[in-house]
C-alpha cells in the first residue's frame, strides 16, 4: 500500500488497488450498494467434543478498522483460522469481495487479498528482515525455477528484484525498522517482530488485513508506533480486522466492534453501542461488576 504497487506486474493487483482507493474515497460513490468486504455467516467448528465456534456471523466494511473482542476461549483465533483457511468450518460460509472463499487453503485466501498475521509473530527467523519482506510480493518472475537459473532469463529476475527491494526498503522505512534490514529476523525483539510481520503482510498489497493480537507483548512506545501506522494505513483505505484484548484500545481506535463469547457473536456495533450493552460487560467481567 505505502510504497506504490509498481512492483506487481499483474493487472489483477492493480485493479484491486484501484478498487481499494475508490472505496476509500467514497464507499457509496461506486454505484453499487456499500457491500461489505468480508461476510461471515453462521460459522460452526468443533474439535472433538468442544464447539469452538457455534454460530459466528458478522460483516466487515471496506476501509474500516474493525475490532474483534471477547474473553479468552471465545473463539476469536479459531474464527481467524477458519476465515484464512487454516482449517475449514463444519458449516457456514465466508464471502470475501462477493466471492465464496469458504474452506479455501491459506495461500488461496491470501492471494485473493485476505492476508493475516499471527498471534505469536511468525517471522522467518533464519532470514534477514529484508528477505522476510521480499518473500511476500505476489507474482515474482524469479519464483519460476528455470527463470532464476538460465542466463538469458535471470536478467529479468534481477530487474524485478531491484523493484522489490525498493518497495521493501520503503516499507522498512515506514515502520522505522530499516536499520535492522540485514539483521536476522530471529534476533529481533518481540515488538519488532510484530512490526516486521505487519510490514511483510503489507508487501502483498492486501485488500484486507486480519491482525491477530498485534499488540500482545509489545511495549507501550512500540504499541503507539504500531497503532499510528495502522491508522495511517486505514486512512489510506486499508481494511483491518483486529483481534485485541485491550478494551480501551479497541474502543478508542476501532470504528466498529464485534464481540464474541463462547463461540458466537454477541453484539456488533460502534464502540459506544457495544459498551452500553450489559451482556458485553457480563461476558467480559463475568457479571460480577455491572
Amino acid at each position: 500500500m505505502t510504497a506504490s504497487s509498481d512492483v506487481d506486474a499483474t493487472d489483477e493487483t492493480e485493479l484491486d488497488d484501484a478498487d481499494a482507493d475508490e472505496r476509500a474515497a467514497d464507499p457509496d460513490a461506486t454505484g453499487r450498494p456499500a457491500e461489505p468486504l468480508l461476510e461471515v455467516d453462521s460459522l460452526t467448528k468443533s474439535f472433538g467434543g468442544i464447539d469452538a465456534l457455534n454460530g459466528v456471523t458478522f460483516d466487515v466494511t471496506a476501509g474500516m478498522l474493525t475490532g474483534l473482542i471477547g474473553p479468552n476461549g471465545a473463539g476469536k483465533s479459531t474464527t481467524f483460522n477458519v476465515i484464512s483457511g487454516v482449517f475449514p468450518p463444519d458449516s457456514g460460509t465466508v464471502r470475501f469481495g462477493g466471492e465464496d472463499v469458504t474452506g479455501l487453503a491459506p495461500n488461496e485466501t491470501a492471494s485473493r487479498g485476505l492476508v493475516r498475521t499471527f498471534q505469536m509473530a511468525r517471522e522467518f527467523r533464519n532470514m534477514t528482515v529484508l528477505e522476510n519482506l521480499m518473500v511476500a510480493p505476489k507474482a515474482q518472475v524469479g519464483e519460476t525455477a528455470w527463470r532464476s537459473v538460465l542466463p538469458g532469463a535471470r536478467g529479468a529476475v534481477s530487474d524485478q528484484e531491484e523493484e522489490v527491494f525498493e518497495r521493501a526498503w520503503s516499507m522498512l522505512e515506514f515502520f522505522d525498522i530499516d536499520h535492522l534490514a540485514l539483521e536476522n529476523a530471529g534476533n529481533l525483539s518481540g515488538g519488532q517482530r510484530k512490526l516486521l510481520e505487519l510490514a511483510r503482510a503489507l508487501m502483498l498489497d492486501p485488500e484486507m488485513l486480519l491482525l491477530d493480537e498485534p499488540f500482545a507483548g509489545v511495549n507501550p512506545s512500540l504499541e503507539s508506533k504500531l497503532l499510528e501506522r495502522i491508522e495511517t494505513l486505514r486512512d489510506r483505505g486499508q481494511t483491518f480486522l483486529l483481534v485485541e484484548h485491550d478494551m480501551d484500545l479497541i474502543m478508542e481506535h476501532c470504528e466498529r466492534v464485534i464481540v464474541m463469547h463462547q463461540g458466537r457473536t454477541l453484539v456488533t456495533g460502534t464502540p459506544e453501542e457495544v459498551q452500553s450493552q450489559e451482556e458485553v460487560v457480563e461476558a467480559y467481567l463475568g457479571g460480577n461488576v455491572a
Binding site: N107, A110, V115, E161
Partner: protein
C-alpha cells in the same frame, strides 16, 4: 578451518565488488582446503614410497570421490539446507538414474557380442537423458503424497523409497524379462554391466597419442583417461554448483528458505508451498540421477549392493560437517569428509604396515584381547587395522563429535547466504549512504 569460516563475513563486507569477490573468496576457501588435503596425501604417498604414477593415482582417486560426494552434498543441501526436505533416500534416486540409463543403452538382444543382458539399444546420450528424467519422475512420485508429512515422516518415506528401489532392482523376477517382444533386465542380485565410459573410449581410440606421449614421460598411461574423466566430473560439479547457487539466490530460493523456517506463515503469504517443495525436490532428484550415471555407471558394472543406505549417510555427514545451508560449506565439508574419514583409515593402515613391522593377522576380537592379556599389544593393532570399514565408522563418530562440539552448526553453519539474485547488502549500504548524505548535507553528493 573454522577460522576461515568465521572470518568469511567481515571479509566479504569489506569487498567493494561483492559478487565477483564473493565467488573468488569462496573458491579460495574450497581451494585452500583441497590444497591442504592434497598436501597431506602427497606426504603420505612419499612416506609410502609412491612414484609419480602412484602419487597421481592416489590424488586421482581422492579427487574422484571428493567431486562425486560434493555433487551429492550440494543436492542434500538444496533439499535440507535450503528447503527443509529431509531426504535420506539419496541412493535410491542415484540407482534409478544408473539402472535406467543402463537398461536403455544396453544393446538389443542378438546385437550383443558379449552375450550379457540385452537392453533397448538406445544411443548413450538419449539413455542419459532418460536416466535423469526417470530419477526426476521417481522423485515426483516420492514427493507427491509425502509432502504433507512433517520433516521426520518425510525422511522415513524417502528412506523407504530408496530401499524399495534397491530391492526391486534386486528382485530375481526382474533379472531378465520380456515386454512387447523386447528382452531386458536389471540383472537382479548379480548386477549388470553398464555402458562403456566415453572418456575411456576416447583415449583408447583417437586419444591414443596423448596416452603414448604421457607414457613416454614415464607416467602410467592409464592415468590419462582417469584424470580426464575426473576433469569432466569437475565441470559437472561446477555446473551443479552454479545451478544450485542460482536457485538459492533467487526469489525461488527465498520462498524455499521461508518454507524451511515456517511453512504455515509462507502459506499465509499466498505461496503454494507444496509446489515449491515438489519442484525443489525434483530438481535435486534429477541431479542425483545424473550423479548415479557418472558415478556407479562409470565403473562398468553395478549391483544393488552399491545402493545401501550407508552411502546416503556418508553424504549427509559431509553436509553436516560443512554446515547445512551453505553450498561452499557442503563442498568444504565433503573434502574433509573424504580426505579424513573416508580414505583416511585405509592410508593409516598402509602407513602403519609400512613403518611398524607387523606380521600375521588377527581376525577376531577375542584373539586381539587374548594377545594383549599376554603382554602383546601388536594383536590389538593388527585387529584394528584389519577392520578398515569399521574403523571408518568409528573415525566418523569421533570426527563428528570433535567438530560439532566446537561448531554446532557445522563449519559454515553460521554463514549468511542472502536469497536474492541481486546483492542486497550492497543495496542496503547504498541506501544508507544516500540517507546519511541527505541528512548531513541536505542531499549533496551521491
Amino acid at each position: 578451518m573454522s577460522d576461515d569460516a568465521t572470518a568469511g563475513g567481515p571479509v566479504e563486507a569489506r569487498l567493494p565488488a561483492w559478487a565477483a569477490d564473493y565467488w573468488a573468496n569462496d573458491l579460495v576457501k574450497i581451494g585452500a582446503t583441497l590444497a591442504a588435503v592434497y598436501a597431506v596425501y602427497l606426504v603420505i604417498g612419499a612416506l609410502l614410497g609412491y612414484d609419480l604414477s602412484g602419487q597421481l593415482n592416489s590424488l586421482r582417486r581422492l579427487t574422484f570421490l571428493i567431486v562425486l560426494y560434493s555433487i551429492a552434498a550440494l543436492v542434500v543441501n538444496l533439499h535440507w539446507g535450503y528447503s527443509g526436505l529431509f531426504n535420506i533416500g539419496v541412493v535410491g534416486f542415484m540407482a534409478t538414474g544408473v539402472y535406467t540409463t543402463t537398461m536403455l543403452s544396453r544393446p538389443l538382444q542378438g546385437q550383443n557380442p558379449t552375450g550379457t543382458l540385452p537392453g533397448l539399444g538406445l544411443p548413450f546420450p538419449v539413455a542419459v537423458v532418460g536416466g535423469v528424467l526417470a530419477a526426476a519422475a521417481v522423485g515426483y512420485v516420492a514427493a507427491l503424497p509425502s509432502l504433507r508429512l512433517r520433516d521426520d515422516y518425510f525422511a522415513i518415506v524417502t528412506l523407504a523409497f530408496a530401499e524399495i528401489i534397491r530391492i526391486t532392482v534386486k528382485a530375481s523376477e526382474l533379472q531378465e524379462f520380456t515386454v512387447f517382444g523386447v528382452t531386458l533386465g536389471t540383472g537382479g542380485g548379480r548386477g549388470i554391466r553398464t555402458y562403456p565410459n566415453p572418456v575411456d573410449e576416447f583415449f583408447a581410440g583417437p586419444g591414443q597419442p596423448v596416452v603414448e606421449a604421457v607414457s613416454a614421460l614415464g607416467v602410467d598411461g592409464s592415468l590419462v583417461a582417469g584424470w580426464a574423466f575426473v576433469l569432466v566430473l569437475v565441470v559437472l560439479l561446477a555446473g551443479v554448483y552454479l545451478l544450485i547457487t542460482r536457485l538459492a539466490e533467487s526469489p525461488f530460493g527465498r520462498v524455499l528458505k521461508a518454507i524451511r523456517d515456517d511453512e504455515q506463515a509462507t502459506l499465509g503469504l499466498a505461496k503454494d508451498t507444496a509446489s515449491f517443495k515438489i519442484r525443489a525436490f525434483i530438481v535435486g532428484c534429477a541431479v542425483l540421477g545424473l550423479l548415479g550415471i557418472v558415478w556407479q555407471g562409470s565403473q562398468g558394472y553395478v549391483s544393488p549392493s552399491l545402493f545401501i543406505p550407508q552411502l546416503t549417510f556418508f553424504i549427509w555427514i559431509a553436509v553436516i560437517v560443512g554446515g547445512a545451508g551453505s553450498n561452499t560449506g557442503s563442498i568444504v565439508g565433503t573434502i574433509l569428509f573424504v580426505g579424513v574419514v573416508y580414505l583416511g583409515p585405509d592410508y593409516l593402515r598402509r602407513l602403519v604396515e609400512e613403518y611398524v613391522s607387523l606380521s600375521g593377522s588377527v581376525p577376531t576380537f577375542p584373539g586381539a584381547v587374548g594377545a594383549l592379556a599376554g603382554g602383546d599389544p601388536q594383536g590389538v593393532l593388527l585387529y584394528t587395522l584389519d577392520q578398515t570399514s569399521t574403523l571408518r565408522v568409528v573415525l566418523t563418530g569421533v570426527f563428528l563429535v570433535w567438530l560439532l562440539r566446537t561448531n554446532p552448526d557445522g563449519l559454515f553453519g553460521d554463514r549468511r547466504e542472502i536469497a536474492s539474485s541481486i546483492d542486497l547488502e550492497d543495496r542496503v549500504e547504498r541506501r544508507r549512504a544516500r540517507g546519511d548524505a541527505d541528512g548531513q548535507e541536505g542531499g549533496g553528493s551521491e
